[in-house]
């Protein structure tokens, strides 16, 4: 069942074919090519590439291509041996580390840490001093050098499994430590171990080749690819293929092992980034703007995104909306109703994969469906402000709050540092963040959640905002903080006269804050109504939303009303 599916991906197919070839060469290579590889011919010695000898011949006239094929067995077997040592040793050490009492556990973990800080080759060299420069010595050396990697992997995986409920449940049922480890922990960490074993085999192969190449691995008259590469590299002036031939074998088999790991992990189906939608550039024409210019005019907005199968799926189906200067408009709807996508489209912030079409999408005479020109960018930077849902992630954690506040004024209004700093202090005071001068030099993580959101509002006020788009600005905050943020938003509007587009799922919050409410569901506007006349709402969905809001008179013994899902789509989104 799984195998044919595996063969259908290019990686799976390549890995399978490669694996079959490697296995064939390992088993039959010495049988088929053995004679050719050892047959000496003084007349043919040190020849270059020819049809008879694709990789040329060596000092004794032996065919190098045959030798590369024959060397597969030694190279692959030694690789498997060394990988086996790494895995078995590592898993044992890792499991022991998990089972030990905590002081010893920490000691072993520290030791593994230290071993890991040394590159593999150095560890392998160290061990090869002890075990000598033979094939077996090198196998032990490479194998032991890989133990720390698997020990760390095992203990990390085991620790994550050990914390899971079913392992704790087994412990409560009286299963002993050792028994739990082998019955419950080890089987659950096997799949990731298998993935890493394949990847590790690839690395082991290269390391082994390195040791042999240095003359510290397989010794003459035995030979593996590393040794062939070593011998070939000395004759590179005469016959480059003598070195490149074994090199190709090393890389190919290394890639096969690495691919196997990727196929096992099933993460191999690397997703291509979705194709970008090309947007038209805005013209250089700048329309005159007055105080009476509508803040936003939008009609028949449609937004589509690429679905899993690559086809475009429409999420917003023809939404129209207009906002007058200074007006406060709320969009209400459940998750997946398309309200945030609409807001992002208004701001022109949808990603390159989104397909936005509209009859008209104008912010104060700027066409938001086109790529803005320089002057329009400047105006947008100053006149539009965005506040996002999660204040923990919407401020850049690496830059001071002051830098992030000043930026827009400095870039767009060409303000001096001193001026923008003064303005930033001013705006922080406006949103009631005390001790503004000191706060500006702090990083966002030094702010509380509510303070960050107010800093975001202050950031929007650094220009001359005409429209503040607040996309669920209080959803991630608790109720008391929510009030402060709403108050800051209201005061910001009073100070600047900006219009506000307020997006929320909370109809109670929206009706208290906005002049006009737009109710969205599944990408369409179901009702548009003045906030003061919300009681007269006609649409059953709007009425349902209102009914869901409990007040002091709500019967607490009855279950709260529930709105039925419109269709499957809105649940899965």
């Amino acid at each position: 069942m799984r195998i044919p599916a595996l063969l259908r991906t290019p990686q799976g197919l390549a890995a399978s074919v490669g694996l079959v070839l490697v296995v064939l060469a390992t088993i039959f290579g010495p049988i088929v090519f053995g004679d050719l590889a050892t047959e000496r011919s003084i007349a043919d010695r040190q020849q270059g590439v020819s049809v008879g000898h694709p990789f040329g011949t060596d000092d004794l006239g032996r065919d190098l291509f045959a030798r590369v094929i024959v060397a597969t067995r030694v190279s692959v077997l030694l690789t498997l041996g060394a990988t086996g040592i790494s895995v078995v040793g590592g898993v044992l050490l890792g499991v022991i580390a998990v089972l030990l009492p905590s002081v010893l556990k920490r000691l072993v973990a520290g030791l593994i840490d230290i071993l890991l800080s040394f590159p593999w080759l150095l560890l392998a060299l160290f061990f090869s001093v002890i075990w000598g420069t033979t094939a077996v010595g090198a196998m032990l050396a490479v194998g032991f050098a890989g133990i720390p990697v698997f020990a760390r992997l095992t203990s990390t995986l085991a620790a994550s499994v050990a914390g899971s409920d079913y392992v704790r449940a087994a412990g409560m049922l009286g299963s002993g430590n050792l028994r739990t480890t082998f019955r419950h922990v080890v089987p659950n960490i096997l799949p990731p171990l298998l993935v890493n074993t394949a990847a590790h085999a690839s690395v082991t192969l290269l390391s082994f080749a390195a040791l042999s190449f240095l003359g510290l691995g397989v010794q003459a008259p035995e030979y593996d690819w590393g040794r062939l590469l070593n011998e070939g590299s000395k004759r590179i002036y005469v016959d480059p293929m003598a070195a490149i031939g074994p090199g190709i074998a090393i890389v190919l088999v290394g890639v096969v092992f690495a691919l196997l790991g990727e196929v096992f992990s099933e993460s191999s189906a690397r997703r291509l980034p979705p194709k970008a939608v090309r947007r038209r550039r805005s013209t250089d024409y700048v329309a005159p703007v007055t105080d009476a210019t509508p803040t936003l005019e939008m009609s028949d907005l449609r937004v589509a995104f690429p679905g899993r199968d690559g086809k475009m799926v429409e999420r917003v189906h023809g939404v129209s909306l207009s906002i007058s200067p200074g007006e406060t408009v709320g969009i209400v709807g459940e998750s997946g109703s398309g309200k945030s996508v609409t807001a992002s489209a208004v701001a022109g912030l949808l990603g390159p994969e989104a397909l936005v079409t509209s009859e008209r999408l104008m912010f104060r005479e700027i066409d938001m469906s086109a790529v803005p020109n320089g002057a329009e960018r400047r105006r947008l930077g100053l006149e539009q402000a965005m506040i996002f849902q999660d204040p923990l992630t919407s401020l850049n954690p690496a830059l001071t709050v002051g830098r992030q506040l000043r930026e827009a004024s400095e870039v767009h209004a060409k303000m001096s540092r001193a001026d923008s700093l003064r303005r930033a202090v001013d705006k922080l005071n406006l949103v009631r963040i005390p001790d503004a001068e000191r706060r500006l030099n702090q990083l966002p993580h030094e702010f509380s959640g509510g303070m960050r959101q107010r800093a975001m509002i202050a950031m929007g006020l650094m220009g001359t905002p005409r429209l503040i788009i607040a996309d669920e600005p209080t959803t991630a905050l608790d109720v008391t903080v929510q009030r402060q943020v709403m108050q800051a938003l209201r005061e910001a509007q009073n100070a600047t006269g900006a219009a506000i587009l307020f997006i929320s799922h909370d109809i109670a919050l929206v009706s208290g804050f906005c002049d006009r409410i737009i109710v969205m569901r599944d990408g369409v506007v179901v009702e548009e109504i003045a906030a003061a006349r919300l009681d007269e709402a006609q649409h059953p969905y709007t009425r349902g939303l209102i009914a869901c809001v409990p007040d002091m008179a709500t019967d607490r013994t009855a279950a709260l009303p529930v709105i039925a899902a419109a269709d499957e789509e809105s649940i899965t989104v």
Binding site: K105, I114, F126, A159, S233, P273
Partner: protein
């Protein structure tokens, strides 16, 4: 070849699950006050423990050699008197405790013993050969780091735009293939291409800048591709972050978004990977110096292992270990200096 081995390591290391070290760190943090200082102290302590471990290991390395190391070094045909004489010079006939004190006493005075094959003090040999290795690895690291950032950032930005999909796929496949090629093989191919097919640079020797071109390339290209991939992955992750949307909503010019808003946020992960690359580079000199016949400590370790010159082996192993620990410490210092949020406190 030392690079891919660390992919697994880095992935495993990225998810610290042991709760106890964190708690311990918090206690330390409470004492010293600054998370940076706590981080540095912890790393310094780890380096010291590692150094002690290396010292002990290098001493016991010779003891662990099965059979008689002196006989192995001199070969089966050497007369017994010579073997005994060498054993006496190396101090291997003394009781273990006395050997131990002799070894560490010598180390404290900078005396690493005398090479069996050249009869010269090991310290002198190392001092002569260290500069070439240091030079090679530092230059290669700088080349790798300088090359990786523009490539990683550019591919990430264009991958996000999704406008040049075939180019993106081509570059990422090329990086993947380069990472899969071991550096010694790359070195051989480079010699063939640029010393034989198109004679641009010498294939062996050391001393002039031309001599360094191919070795530095052979050493740097793999780590460059590896780092570029890390930068790419980190950049793609960061470009999807909400704070980048915030920066976009401010209509900042592209260079400010990428350089000021995105780059600082990939520093920690990239530097951590950079540490792995740097130590891998140090070890990679062993292979590169051998291929290009460079008189550094890398080619010394190979020849000394082949001739079983134990005092020299001990010296070079110690030297390499110190180099690796120093490289780790340099990265830790950089992390402490550059990490914007002291996320290092948990690392």
């Amino acid at each position: 070849m030392t690079i891919p081995s660390t992919v697994v390591t880095a992935a495993a290391a990225a998810t610290p699950t042991e709760p106890s070290p964190v708690r311990r760190g918090d206690r330390l943090l409470a004492i010293v006050g600054s998370p940076r200082l706590a981080f540095l102290l912890k790393r310094l302590a780890r380096a010291l423990v590692a150094l002690a471990l290396v010292l002990v290991a290098s001493f016991f390395m010779v003891q662990f050699v099965p059979g008689d190391p002196v006989r192995a070094a001199l070969g089966p045909t050497a007369p017994a008197a010579t073997v005994d004489a060498l054993r006496h010079t190396l101090g291997l006939d003394l009781p273990l405790g006395e050997q131990f004190t002799r070894y560490f006493g010598g180390l404290l005075h900078g005396d690493l013993g005398v090479s069996v094959s050249t009869q010269r003090p090991v310290g002198t040999t190392l001092a002569e050969r260290l500069p070439a290795t240091l030079m090679l690895s530092v230059v290669a690291f700088v080349v790798a780091a300088l090359g990786a950032f523009p490539i990683g950032v550019a591919t990430a930005v264009s991958a996000r735009g999704g406008r040049r999909r075939s180019l993106d796929l081509g570059v990422s496949s090329l990086l993947g293939i380069i990472i899969a090629i071991p550096n010694f093989l790359l070195a051989v191919v480079l010699i063939w291409l640029f010393s034989i097919v198109v004679p641009l640079a010498p294939s062996a020797g050391w001393g002039s800048p031309q001599h360094a071109v191919l070795p530095v390339l052979a050493l740097a290209i793999g780590p460059l591709a590896y780092l570029a991939r890390i930068v790419h992955v980190e950049m793609v992750r960061v470009l999807d972050a909400p704070y980048i949307t915030t920066a976009r909503s401010k209509r900042l010019p592209a260079h400010l978004i990428y350089l000021r808003h995105a780059l600082p946020n990939i520093v920690t992960a990239t530097l951590t990977a950079g540490g792995v690359v740097l130590t891998g580079l140090v070890a990679g000199t062993v292979l590169i110096e051998t291929v290009f016949v460079i008189p550094g400590i890398g080619s010394t370790i190979v020849s000394s292992i082949t001739t079983k010159d134990y005092p020299l082996i001990q010296g070079v192993v110690l030297m390499y270990a110190v180099l690796v620990l120093a490289a780790n410490l340099v990265i830790d210092l950089l992390l402490a200096a550059l990490d914007p949020r002291s996320t290092i406190a948990e690392a």
